[in-house]
């Protein structure tokens, strides 16, 4: 029992493993993700050191260059590549091995994304693109940087379509029944990704590229920002939904329970699809040029995602409770004691779930129309997304990696690595509590995000912020130790752990659960509602930008 998280060699049933060829494709993505984690994490460490005022970057490297590296590698590359690695394995495991054509499309997508990453990274390293990961116009980077970003997006479409195609094939082969839950979730996430990344693709292809190539002189600044945030908020749900997939479908199996409700899990994913896109204005609340009414409308739509979040919270705790009670728990909260706290595959994602409670509450503040003015562009926001993405999402991914990587490489998670994973989770929690806590607190005092160390000419207010910035450096250093631990475990699992078969845990649905209604797979209907909401939220403000906006701006290179 002590080692129950390790599946004994040969215990995994036939048909419950990921095909070797698909595993290779998934692992290729995860290798890139882990490289991004190393380099991006190092950039993060340098940043907190500089911001503490105790350290300066050598060799003329600029703070903002490092900040751009950190944002792109961790925010975009680590997440997207890990998600694709996981999603490919998930589709292959639940809907069946990819066809040769689908797998080839997956490899082409991987190649295009990796090429794009290399192009963008090279320009950043040459200091030709220190524009941060939001690349706000009219700061103008080298055109190769923008083309690289376009490749990352287009590559993700090619790879994403491969995953969707496998699901369609499953449906064709199995007729009128709902597709496998995990594959369904992958399809929803890819659909959302494709719809939202159209915005950034349009901005890059029709605005940034022609402008940086010198084909046109001017860029419409507000429109480029609006297109960016049309993409930028769903982007965070693109990170979050794979974590939800793991919570909904994998955690129940790990803790020895069942999925609470297949239908409600699907419904919550569809609600995320609907309410994650038409909400970008809540990132633009303090901007001129957008009417207050339309901002408020998008604020209301933003808050609709509270509903699927509450559904998810309910489903998770319902699963926890039924597992605990089945193991003999009585009383109101005893079931917590029955959960497998010593299993890294459960503990680490669970810490992620807990972090999502303050993270979500902070998000409500960020999106709250006039309340946003207190924290907009302060380091509070940085603290917020280090709780959401860098804790909730990333810890869930780490928790998944501990079984996914050995499953894909034909090795097993040993008790030693399990223990080390738990230590890693604790290190991360401590580091993040200190760093994110300090960011939240000093953000409320007004300290800006995206800023080098500065005392603003000895301003009393800015001097008060320095102790918090030192706390950020302490937290950030602990987090870097956490990254080193994860990478060590990853290398062990990929290359050195004992050979064997690690289970790919997929939960089953509760026996007495109701059948899943088919309207949940009526894609035409859901996509139509999604498009309608987007048109409702964006049409009028966009016409306004076209008709009344200023002539546009020339490019600047101010770094």
């Amino acid at each position: 029992m002590k080692q129950s998280f390790v599946t004994e060699s040969g215990n995994v049933k036939k048909g419950e493993t990921v095909d070797k060829r698909d595993a290779k494709l998934a692992m290729a993505h995860i290798y890139v993700a882990m490289t991004a984690l190393l380099l991006g994490g190092l950039a993060g460490l340098l940043q907190v050191m500089v911001r503490s005022g105790q350290f300066e970057l050598p060799w003329g490297i600029s703070y903002y260059q490092v900040l751009t590296v950190h944002g792109i590698l961790l925010g975009l590359i680590l997440t997207t590549f890990f998600i694709f690695g996981f999603q490919i394995s998930a589709v292959s495991r639940t809907a069946g091995t990819l066809s040769d054509k689908q797998r080839r499309s997956g490899w082409v997508g991987f190649g295009v994304m990796t090429l794009g990453t290399a192009m963008a990274a090279t320009m950043v390293l040459l200091n030709e693109a220190s524009v941060l990961y939001t690349f706000y116009a009219p700061l103008m980077a080298h055109w190769v940087f923008y083309l690289g970003l376009a490749f990352v997006v287009v590559g993700s479409w090619i790879g994403g379509f491969a995953q969707i195609a496998r699901y369609i094939q499953w449906k064709r082969e199995n007729g009128k029944q709902p597709g496998p839950l995990l594959s369904f979730m992958v399809v929803v996430n890819n659909l959302m990704w494709v719809i939202c990344s159209l915005g950034v693709a349009i901005a890059v292809l029709f605005q940034f590229l022609p402008w940086s190539l010198g084909l046109v002189d001017r860029i419409d600044v507000l429109m480029s920002r609006t297109l960016f945030w049309y993409f930028g908020h769903p982007l965070v749900y693109f990170w979050l939904l794979p974590a939800y997939m793991i919570w909904y479908t994998i955690i129940p199996k790990i803790i020895g329970g069942k999925i609470f409700s297949d239908a409600l899990a699907r419904l919550s994913f569809l609600l995320f699809l609907l309410f994650s896109i038409p909400v970008g204005f809540h990132h633009q609340l303090t901007e001129p040029g957008i009417d207050a009414f339309w901002k408020f409308l998008q604020v209301v739509l933003t808050f609709m995602v509270v509903i699927p979040s509450l559904m998810t919270a309910f489903a998770m705790f319902a699963t926890f409770e039924s597992v605990g009670r089945a193991k003999g728990a009585t009383g109101l909260f005893d079931f917590f004691k029955k959960l497998p706290w010593g299993d890294v595959r459960f503990l680490v994602p669970f810490i992620g779930m807990v972090a999502f409670i303050p993270a979500g509450a902070g998000g409500l503040i960020n999106a709250s129309n006039q309340m946003n003015q207190v924290i907009h562009n302060t380091i509070w926001v940085t603290g917020h997304f280090h709780l959401t993405v860098a804790t909730t999402v990333v810890l869930t991914f780490f928790g998944a990696m501990y079984w996914l990587v050995p499953h894909l490489t034909g090795r097993v998670l040993t008790p030693q690595l399990n223990r080390l994973g738990i230590i890693q989770g604790i290190v991360w929690t401590v580091g993040m509590s200190i760093m994110s806590g300090a960011m939240h607190a000093v953000g409320l005092l007004g300290a800006p995000r995206r800023s080098n160390f500065s005392t603003y000419g000895g301003s009393e207010q800015a001097v008060e912020w320095i102790p918090y910035q030192i706390a950020q450096a302490v937290g950030g250093t602990i987090l870097f130790i956490g990254i080193a631990l994860v990478l060590y475990i990853f290398i062990q699992l990929a290359f050195f752990a004992p050979k064997g078969q690690q289970e790919y845990p997929i939960g089953e649905v509760e026996e007495n659960a109701q059948t899943t209604p088919m309207f949940l797979e009526n894609w035409k209907m859901w996509v139509t509602i999604c498009v309608a909401l987007i048109l409702l939220a964006y049409t009028v403000p966009f016409i306004d930008m076209f008709q009344n906006g200023p002539p546009g701006s020339i490019g600047y290179k101010l770094w």
Binding site: Y64, V221, L267, V374, N377
Partner: protein, 163 residues
């Protein structure tokens, strides 16, 4: 579709909270006028210095408007003009700002006066300055290598205390 009884209660409670919360935000915005800065005023960013009121940055007392003072600020890489300004405690002030080049931020640290300045657009925000003191005004959107050198100072002075 079957929904568990407790989940119905949970969702009813959650959605009710959501409605109450949004109603409070909405009333505060549309009844009390607490909108974030959303001016739809346009300007040619290349001629900011020649266009009123930006040809004369600083604090101006105004008559016959809903507010008492206008604070006109021009941002450019990497400075605010003016560098320092003063308004009387308790007065109603309209901050009017724009940028001559890239996107800048205009944030008065420790207050909710916080707006993005974008080339071609004028940002406006009206508020009552009700706490005396010296405030750091800084750029909170990355604008280039001199970003953290970009700051100015607002003094809210109690004229009764001085006399």
């Amino acid at each position: 579709m079957h929904i568990h009884k407790y989940e119905k209660w949970w969702l009813t409670f959650g959605i009710t909270c959501l409605v109450v919360f949004l109603t409070v935000l909405g009333i505060s915005a549309f009844h009390a006028g607490a909108h974030p800065p959303s001016a739809q005023v346009y300007i040619n960013q290349e001629h900011v210095d020649e266009i009123a009121p930006f040809d004369n940055p600083g604090v101006h007392k105004v008559e016959g408007k809903e507010w008492d003072y206008e604070v006109v600020v021009v941002a450019s890489a990497f400075m605010f003009s003016p560098m320092e300004y003063e308004v009387p405690l308790g007065s109603k002030v309209k901050f009017i700002a724009t940028t001559k080049d890239v996107v800048h931020g205009f944030q008065i640290a420790g207050t909710n006066i916080n707006m993005m300045l974008e080339p071609g657009y004028v940002s406006e925000f009206v508020t009552i300055v009700d706490k005396p003191g010296e405030y750091l005004v800084l750029c909170n959107e990355y604008c280039g290598v001199g970003h953290t050198a970009m700051a100015s100072k607002l003094k809210v002075v109690d004229s009764n205390a001085e006399s």
